[in-house]
Symmetry: C2
Subunit: 420 residues, 2 copies
């Protein structure tokens, strides 16, 4: 079927004629539909069985253009293929940690997937000071499984390059290249920032050493094709309920540096930490939650590092270092040391990419809801100034980071004595 | 036309029906053919106009399999497409420094190109102690033009990814991954080495710190997609005559680390330097040529660094750092400093990849003719022991290399007092 955007009047008849739907719905006779997307980038519909309302699916269709900053970006509808491919890979490698895909229609640039009825976007829950005792375990498993099993540590050389060749994704990658690593730090019309931090923003834009460090991280982002990364793994791409975690919206997925995804998760938690200077007036309550968040950051990294190391030691069939390569007296110790140094490099790059992502949220095209929802600009500025300081230090000090405590230590040092 | 391997009886009729040949040959009536390849990997024919012998072409056709180490490698004939694409790119970006391509037949996996009648393989000339006053200029131009103009320093993000997507080349890449970075340093049946250096070879294979460093270089080789690299740029892939330089055989080309190509050139010159302990008995003659070679290595690097910096400063239209990014007081100085640090990183990685390539030639599947042509195993071992020492130090000391003199300095230190 040739591409045409669906609307509420055409979705049901489209869904009815898709064979996989007969397995999802016990009956196709009384389907109802509601549009829930913001219509900017994609159309998003919920299709529900009125006979059994527990049966529902999400239908997501790409629009041919994305409106950003008043301009039309020629985003190909190909991005729905990237999202679907990534979702299928996530389901394969980290089952239960991504929404199930029921159907994909390349011509129509649409995917039909599991409707996460009881889940909430993590960002909202964090602003409401919710705790997620299972999250460190779930997200570290997601990261380890997707990153390790799509890398040269597990795949053969040809397998890796063939998989990588299906994720060129050049247009969405350009969005991140521009909006994370370049435009926020120079004159660009789509940038916006709190006028109260204008002096700090201008200082970042004129800081030669920092600009060089950001360019170094951009170079790594653009060229280091280590593994299939989500490439937009902020807390708005994570949905949770009482015991379940799902990573959604992987349309930016490509083969990039593993640390970019890890950095996105950790940095978003720290941004939320800072947002509570605006959201949570009660100091004891605030501090208790901030302690929880730093503990969560440490747990995520430590769990990631432990599982990554174990998974590698137990599944070393990839191209990078064959088992036999370590077959000499002391070889197993050398292999362990290589894994340690590899993971240590990931931590330093997590600081670098995560640090840049602090800065881009303060002065680029999009803030995060954690901060933008603080209406009092003065209170918001308190959090934003800290975010800039912490981001700068994560980037500039990345090469001397030796443990996760160094990263959380920077947060503690910069927030010490904040009075609000 | 469906694929079929040509032979001396079918080449002429094939050539006659290719339209571009009417422009290369003044007459197609009396073409003669001779097969000149070794038939292992490709068929290579010279086709000549008997009426005007100055008119001749090379026809190179891929065979479906490559025999290595007794095994049949499933090398797709696709590699001729990679070679042709790379040759066309080299001609476009570094005109006059690669053989001209006249015709390409994808179905037949063959390319027809310029016959370099008056050129000689550089490796032969170096063993004969020839000097090439123009070589540093030519090869540095080739490296700068091909590497810079296919990188994110010049191309937009989408342009780069689209070009990169045409060079997946997963099967030939696996050959280099195996035979440069892994197999030589472990038990593998195709390895061979001079029995007189067995102790040193075993020591390399059991050196944990060195093995970790080699794995780090392999990781960079496999994942850092910086630019279109030749990926086999030894002195056997360079043909020269009195004033002309051509880079041939780019079938391994893919998007990899720039330093791999630079390292290949410099390391092959140093290997030749060492080979003269076997080839050149006259000490004064040998030392004079060795002085020349080290000067050549320095000139190549210095010319490369100067041209790369200039080319970048004058053509900064790529995705990595937009002009406007440096638009602040002191911004031009910061840009210059970023270029300096980028090029400095290239030098350190040149040491790393070049160092590994010393080692692989001493204990892997293929030696180099500079050394293998030394019949006296004792004399050959003198050069080989030095190559292992120098290779180890280039790899292990790469992160403290700060100038090309540090690299040549290691050669001087290791060869000081060699008596032969």
């Amino acid at each position: 079927m040739a591409y045409r955007p669906l609307d509420e009047s055409t979705v049901v008849s489209y869904v009815k004629q898709r064979p996989p739907m007969a397995k999802v719905f016990s009956s196709l006779d009384r389907l109802s539909v509601s549009e829930v997307g913001d219509g900017n980038l994609n159309l998003v519909f919920i299709v529900q069985n009125e006979v059994n309302p527990a049966e529902s699916v999400i239908l997501k269709q790409a629009l041919p253009f994305l409106r950003v900053a008043g301009d039309s970006w020629p985003l190909t509808r190909e991005r729905m293929r990237y999202e679907t491919q990534a979702l299928l890979k996530h389901n394969e490698l980290a089952p239960g940690l991504a929404p199930t895909v029921y159907d994909f229609d390349q011509e129509m640039s649409l995917v039909i997937m599991e409707h996460l009825r009881t889940h909430e976007i993590m960002r909202k829950g964090l602003v409401a000071r919710k705790r997620y005792p299972f999250f460190a375990d779930h997200i570290s498993t997601f990261l380890v499984n997707v990153l390790f099993f799509t890398s040269d540590l597990f795949l053969t050389g040809p397998e890796k390059k063939q998989l990588q060749a299906t994720f060129v994704n050049e247009h969405l990658r350009k969005l991140q290249e521009d909006f994370v690593y370049s435009n926020p730090y120079m004159e660009s019309e789509e940038n916006n920032w709190n006028p109260l931090i204008d002096e700090l923003v201008q200082a970042v834009r004129a800081d030669g050493a920092l600009k060089i460090a950001i360019a170094e991280m951009k170079e790594a982002y653009m060229t280091h094709g280590e593994a299939l990364i989500h490439a937009d793994l902020h807390t708005g791409s994570i949905m949770l309920n009482g015991g379940d975690t799902r990573v959604i919206d992987p349309e930016f997925a490509f083969f990039g540096p593993m640390a970019y995804d890890i950095g996105a998760v950790l940095q978003n938690l720290i941004l939320n930490y800072l947002s509570h200077y605006g959201h949570t007036a009660d100091r004891a309550e605030r501090e208790a939650y901030q302690v929880y968040l730093l503990e969560l950051v440490r747990d995520i990294w430590n769990e990631f590092a432990r599982k990554f190391d174990e998974t590698w030691a137990n599944n070393n069939r990839g191209e990078l270092v064959p088992e036999k390569y370590w077959d000499f007296p002391g070889g197993q110790e050398a292999f362990a040391e290589y894994r340690r140094s590899y993971i240590h490099r990931l931590l330093q790059e997590t600081a670098g990419h995560g640090g840049v992502k602090f800065l881009r949220r303060m002065m680029g095209i999009v803030s995060v809801w954690d901060l933008s929802s603080i209406e009092d600009l003065e209170k918001r500025a308190v959090a934003e100034r800290l975010a800039i300081q912490i981001g700068k230090r994560w980037v500039l000090e990345r090469k001397s980071i030796s443990s996760i405590d160094d990263l959380t230590g920077i947060v503690l040092e910069e927030t010490k004595g904040v009075s609000i």
